[in-house]
Amino acid sequence: MKGGFITTTLNSMLGWGRKFSLFQYPFITACCGMEYMSVACAHYDLDRFGMGWTRFSPRQADMLLVVGTITQKEAPILKTVYDQMTEPKWVVAFGACAVSGGIYDNYAVVQGIDNIIPVDVYIPGCPPRPETILNALIKLQEKIQKEGHDWRWKKKK
């Protein structure tokens, strides 16, 4: 984003504010959820990175964590949840199944959630280790910091 001193400073401030106040919506469908729980709870503690608030309504969340296998039957539900989230929003594909379908290459499973919704960060692993998840979420924060922020948020395609 091009701009003068004031707009770039404002942009950087917005990025700083947004990256440390990520409200998360965990969309948990499978065993990766156990790994998510260990990361979100006191032992690894997502709250250190400003992601401590779990929102059980997509309308209040900034970050959609898709944790686990997404089946064809579930795909419209995930899409609805994503559409209900207000901008700005980010999506994390958590674990091999969400990234690519994982070991389930069959009639029932969506081969990666990027077939349905846009994804910002992919976390590989079956399930991923908590350190991997923390690393990925810090990467997401860096991405948010670098993004061009606008009061009128442009829709991602």
């Binding site: 064809q72 039957k73 419209p76 899409k79 009639y107 969506v110 077939n115 349905i116």
Partner: protein, 159 residues
């Protein structure tokens, strides 16, 4: 009660309906005619045999054979601690068999699963609808002739 007593009783009462009796992995396998399934099952559930549990009900697809589908019923008697397997074959053109929902309640969902995955029709089932796959799904995915790469997404895929 011993297994032999049950086998003997079955042989006496249903001699012409039982095709074969064999033993595999320590459990008896009884192969029967499909028309006599309800009679035999009710006989086994009643005292003194008391097979009160239907552990599992599933289907096997032997593609290419005339009697293509094989139904497998796993029974368990809590009072005598005996397991029993009942098998019967269904033809490809008319894969239908009596429903066991009147005997065991849990047969309801197990039969819906078999209908969903293999397309077996269960006569007398109160609510024979797909259990796992969604409405609008075509075909039965565990049949051997279901295309390996066939996908039926419910919403438009982005790529």
């Amino acid at each position: 009660m011993e297994k032999e007593e049950i086998i003997d009783a079955l042989k006496q009462n249903f001699s012409e309906k039982i095709r074969d009796i064999s033993v595999q992995f320590g459990d008896e396998i009884i192969v029967i005619d499909r028309n006599s399934l309800l009679d035999i099952v009710k006989f086994l559930k009643a005292e003194p045999y008391a097979f009160t549990m239907l552990l599992d009900l599933t289907c096997v697809d032997y593609k290419g054979e005339e009697l293509r589908f094989e139904m497998v019923y796993h029974l368990f008697s809590l009072s005598t601690n005996i397991r029993l397997r009942i098998k019967t074959r269904l033809p490809e053109k008319d894969p239908s068999i009596d429903s066991l929902t009147s005997v065991w309640k849990n047969a309801n969902w197990l039969e819906r699963e078999a209908y969903d995955m293999f397309g077996i029709r269960f006569d007398g089932h109160p609510y024979l609808r797909r259990l796992f796959m969604y409405d609008g799904f075509e075909g039965h995915p565990l049949r051997k002739d279901y295309p390996l790469r066939k996908r039926q997404p419910r919403i438009r895929m982005r790529k």
